[in-house]
C-alpha cells in the first residue's frame, strides 16, 4: 500500500495548503505563468537583496565615521561668545569636570597661520593651528595614537639639534597633518615657518611686516579623516599663547564624556544654572551638531533606498498579482468544481493567497540569503569584483543554460525552474555588485572625508527583519484581489467556463 503511506502526513495538512501547493508545483499548461512567477520571485529577491546590501553599506559608513569622529574629536566643544579668549581656564576645567558624565576636559588655543617651507618664500598653505596641553588633550581625544613620530613639543634636545643644523632660532615642535605634510613636501625633522601675525612698520605706516616663527616638524598626524589630516597642526599651548600673544589664555575647552550619545543633554546642562554660573561658557557644540549634515544626508540616503526598494518589491508584487489573475482564469473550472464539492469562498480565497504568498516568501527568502551573502563577500574581501569576473560568470551561466536546455540531463521540470531562478537572481545581483562596488567609494564621496580601502559593512538584523516583513506584507497584499476574485466566481458560470 505504498500509495497510502505517502498520504499519512496529510492529517495535519490543511486542504487549502494541499491544493495550493499542488497548483504551485504542477507542470503548467501555460508556461507563461511560471515564467511570470519566476520573474516575480527574481524581482522580490533583487529588491530585498539590494536593500539589505545598500543599507548595510550605509550603516557601515555611518558607524565607521562615527567611530573615527569619536576617536579624533571632543564630544563637546565649549567657547565664549565669538571665540573670545579667556584666562581662568584651569578653574573652568575643574568646574566642567564636576558635571555628571564628564570624563576629561582640556584647554585649546585655536588659531590660523600661513606656513612656508624654509626654502620657499611663497605661502605653502594656510592651516589651523591647535595649541594643546599634551597631557590634558590625551585624555580628551587620545590624539597621540594618531601621531607618527614624537609629541614632545618642548623637547629641548630635538629643538637644539634642529636649531643647530638649520642655524635658526626654533620656537618649538610642531605635529603636522599627514596629508598636509605630503602636500607641501615636508617631513619629520624639517623646519617650517609660521606667520603668526602682522606688525605695522613704525617708519612706514602703510606697510605691514610679518612676525615669523620657526618650528621643527616632530611628527605627523594621521587620523584617516581628511578634514584634519589636510589642514591641522598641533603645537604646545604655552607656545601658542606666547606666539599669538595670549599669555595664560585659551579660546576653546574640549570635553570628553563617558557616553558620547549623551552629548546634547550634557551640553544643555552646562549652559544652564547652576553649572553655567561657574563655568561661564555660553557656546556649546556637540560632535553630533558638528556632523549633523553628514548624518542627515546618510539618513536621507537610507530612506531613499528603502523607498526605491519598496517600489521594486511593489513591481514584483504586481507580477505576483498578474500571475495569480492568470492562474485564477486557468483554474476557473476547477474553482467551480471545488465549490460544488463544498469548499467555501474562504477556502478558495486561501488557496490562491497561499500560492501568491509562497512566491513572495520564496523571493524574500532568496533575497535575504543573497543580500547577506553579498554583505559577507564585501566584508571578507574574498572576492574582488572585476569586469573579468563578471564576464566569467556570464559565460558560466550561458554554459549552465545550455546544459539545462538539453532537457534530458535534468529530468525534473520543477528543479530546472527553481534552479534557473536562483541562478539568474545570483547572476543579476552579482552583476550589479560588480558594477556598483568599484564606483561606490567615489560615488559616495567617501574617499574625500574618510580614507577607506574597503566598503564598511554593518548588517542591522532588526532592519533585515523589517525588510522581510515589509516585502512579505506587500506580496501578501498583492494576492488579496485575485484571490477575492476567485472566491467570488459564480460556481455555475465557473463550471461552464471554457
Amino acid at each position: 500500500m505504498f500509495c497510502l503511506l505517502q498520504y499519512d502526513n496529510l492529517d495535519y495538512m490543511k486542504f487549502d495548503w494541499f491544493v495550493a501547493s499542488r497548483y504551485l508545483l504542477s507542470r503548467r499548461k501555460q508556461s507563461f505563468i511560471s515564467i511570470i512567477s519566476i520573474i516575480s520571485i527574481i524581482g522580490v529577491s533583487l529588491g530585498v537583496a539590494t536593500v539589505i546590501l545598500v543599507i548595510a553599506v550605509l550603516d557601515g559608513v555611518e558607524h565607521g565615521l562615527r567611530d573615527r569622529f569619536l576617536a579624533n574629536e571632543a564630544h563637546i566643544v565649549l567657547r565664549d561668545f565669538g571665540s573670545a579668549y579667556f584666562s581662568d581656564y584651569d578653574r573652568k576645567i575643574e568646574e566642567i569636570k564636576k558635571v555628571n558624565g564628564v570624563v576629561a576636559a582640556s584647554p585649546v588655543v585655536y588659531s590660523q597661520s600661513a606656513i612656508f617651507r624654509q626654502d620657499n618664500n611663497n605661502i605653502d598653505a594656510v592651516i589651523l593651528v591647535k595649541g594643546i596641553d599634551p597631557e590634558l588633550e590625551e585624555n580628551v581625544t587620545g590624539f597621540s595614537q594618531f601621531v607618527k613620530g614624537s609629541t614632545g613639543f618642548k623637547d629641548t634636545r630635538i629643538i637644539e639639534e634642529a636649531s643647530f643644523i638649520n642655524d635658526v632660532k626654533i620656537t618649538g615642535g610642531i605635529v603636522l597633518g599627514s596629508r598636509l605634510a605630503f602636500r607641501i613636501g615636508v617631513n619629520e625633522g624639517d623646519v617650517l615657518r609660521l606667520v603668526v601675525r602682522m606688525v605695522e612698520d613704525a617708519l612706514n605706516p602703510d606697510s605691514l611686516y610679518p612676525i615669523i616663527k620657526h618650528f621643527v616638524v616632530i611628527g605627523l598626524y594621521e587620523s584617516e579623516l581628511t578634514v584634519y589630516d589636510n589642514q591641522i597642526a598641533f603645537i604646545h599651548i604655552e607656545t601658542a599663547q606666547e606666539i599669538y600673544e595670549k599669555p595664560g589664555q585659551a579660546n576653546v575647552i574640549l570635553v570628553r564624556l563617558e557616553d558620547a550619545e549623551r552629548a546634547p543633554e550634557i551640553a544643555q546642562k552646562m549652559t544652564e544654572p547652576p553649572a553655567f554660573d561657574k563655568i561661564q561658557m555660553p557656546m556649546t557644540t556637540t560632535w553630533l551638531e558638528t556632523h549633523a549634515p553628514l548624518f542627515a544626508a546618510l539618513e536621507l540616503e537610507k530612506i531613499a533606498t528603502v523607498i526605491i526598494e519598496a517600489l521594486i518589491i511593489l513591481v514584483a508584487a504586481f507580477n505576483i498579482a498578474s500571475t495569480l489573475i492568470m492562474t485564477v482564469m486557468e483554474k476557473t473550472r476547477d474553482i467551480g468544481t471545488l465549490r460544488t464539492l463544498g469548499s467555501s469562498r474562504g477556502n478558495i480565497m486561501r488557496i490562491f493567497m497561499i500560492q501568491g504568498s509562497v512566491i513572495g516568501m520564496l523571493g524574500t527568502f532568496i533575497g535575504t540569503a543573497l543580500g547577506l551573502g553579498l554583505c559577507w563577500l564585501l566584508s571578507t574581501n574574498i572576492v574582488r569584483p572585476t569586469p573579468w569576473l563578471a564576464l566569467g560568470l556570464v559565460v558560466f551561466l550561458i554554459l549552465i543554460q545550455i546544459v539545462i536546455a538539453i532537457r534530458h540531463l535534468l529530468p525534473y521540470a520543477k528543479i530546472r525552474g527553481i534552479g534557473f531562478t536562483i541562478l539568474w537572481v545570483i547572476a543579476i545581483a552579482f552583476g550589479l555588485y560588480c558594477l556598483v562596488e568599484p564606483i561606490s567609494l567615489q560615488e559616495l564621496g567617501l574617499s574625500q572625508i574618510y580614507q577607506m580601502n574597503q566598503l564598511p559593512i554593518r548588517v542591522n538584523w532588526f532592519f533585515v527583519g523589517f525588510i522581510n516583513v515589509l516585502s512579505f506584507v506587500i506580496c501578501w497584499l498583492a494576492t488579496i484581489y485575485p484571490a477575492w476574485q476567485a472566491a467570488n466566481l459564480n460556481p455555475i458560470e465557473a463550471l461552464q467556463y471554457e
Binding site: 499519512d8 495538512m13 490543511k14 486542504f15 471545488l338 460544488t340 464539492l341 467555501s344
Partner: protein, 234 residues
C-alpha cells in the same frame, strides 16, 4: 417510501435588464429516498437550472425545497457550502476532475474539505488515512482499482466519468445530482457507467437524480418525470 426532498411551487426567473425570462414556473415534485429519478425534457426547458437549485448552486426566485424537512432556501452561504459538502454529490456531463490531482486524490477531495471544516471544531474522528482508504474502496466499486494514481489526462472518458461518480459519493451524500452524465461518452461506455450507478444505488441506497436526454438511461431509472414549460408534466 420515505420522501427525501420536497419541491414546492418552485419558480426561477433570469433577469436581463428589464426583461424577465421565466424558466421554472411552479415545479412541484417529491423525491424519495434511494430512488433513481430521471428528469427529461426538451433542450432549454430548465432541467439544468432545476438541478443547480437542488444542488444549492443557485437560489430559486420563489418556492421552497425541503431536504428532510429542512428548507435549504433559507440557508446562509456558509451553511450551503457545508451542505453541499455533506449532503450532495455532483456528476456533470464533463467530468470536471481536477487535472493536477490523481484519481484517488480527486475522489478524496470532498472528504479533505470536510476534514478541514471539522478541524475547526476539533473533531478528529475523521482522518486522512481513512479518507484515502474510503476513496480507494469507492474507486474499486466503480472498477478502477488499477487506476488510483493516474491523473485525469491518463484516463479514458468513461473512466473519468466513473471517477466523478466515485468522487460524488465520498461523503455519503443524501443525494447524487447528475447532469447528463453520459452525454459525452459513447453508448457502450454509457452502459458501463450506468451499470456502476445502478450497482452503487443497490449497495449504498443512495438517491440519484439524473437529468438526461438519453431514453435508455431513463428506462433504467426507477421513475422518470418530464419537465415541460417550466413545470413537471403529469
Amino acid at each position: 417510501m420515505d420522501t427525501l426532498i420536497t419541491i414546492d411551487n418552485l419558480h426561477k426567473s433570469f433577469y436581463d435588464g428589464d426583461s424577465e425570462l421565466k424558466v421554472l414556473k411552479g415545479v412541484n415534485l417529491d423525491i424519495y429516498t434511494s430512488e433513481i429519478l430521471s428528469i427529461m425534457g426538451a433542450s432549454g426547458v430548465g432541467k439544468s437550472t432545476l438541478l443547480h437549485i437542488l444542488g444549492t448552486l443557485d437560489r430559486p426566485t420563489s418556492g421552497s425545497i425541503l431536504y428532510e424537512d429542512e428548507d435549504i432556501t433559507t440557508f446562509s452561504e456558509r451553511q450551503l457550502a457545508s451542505f453541499r459538502n455533506n449532503a450532495i454529490g455532483f456528476v456533470f456531463q464533463f467530468h470536471q476532475l481536477l487535472p493536477e490531482f490523481t484519481a484517488l486524490e480527486n475522489v478524496a477531495m470532498g472528504r479533505l474539505i470536510k476534514i478541514s471544516k471539522r478541524n475547526k471544531s476539533r473533531d478528529t474522528d475523521l482522518n486522512n488515512n481513512s479518507t484515502y482508504q474510503d476513496a480507494q474502496r469507492l474507486l474499486e466499486d466503480v472498477g478502477l482499482a488499477e487506476r488510483l494514481d493516474h491523473y485525469p489526462s491518463q484516463l479514458s472518458g468513461g473512466e473519468r466519468q466513473r471517477v466523478a461518480i466515485a468522487r460524488a459519493l465520498i461523503n455519503q451524500p443524501k443525494v447524487v445530482l447528475a447532469d447528463e452524465p453520459t452525454g459525452n461518452i459513447d453508448d457502450k461506455t454509457s452502459q458501463a457507467v450506468l451499470n456502476v450507478l445502478q450497482k452503487i444505488n443497490e449497495r449504498l441506497q443512495q438517491t440519484f437524480i439524473i437529468v438526461t436526454h438519453d431514453s435508455r438511461l431513463a428506462e433504467r431509472a426507477d421513475r422518470t418525470v418530464e419537465l415541460v414549460d417550466g413545470k413537471i408534466a403529469d
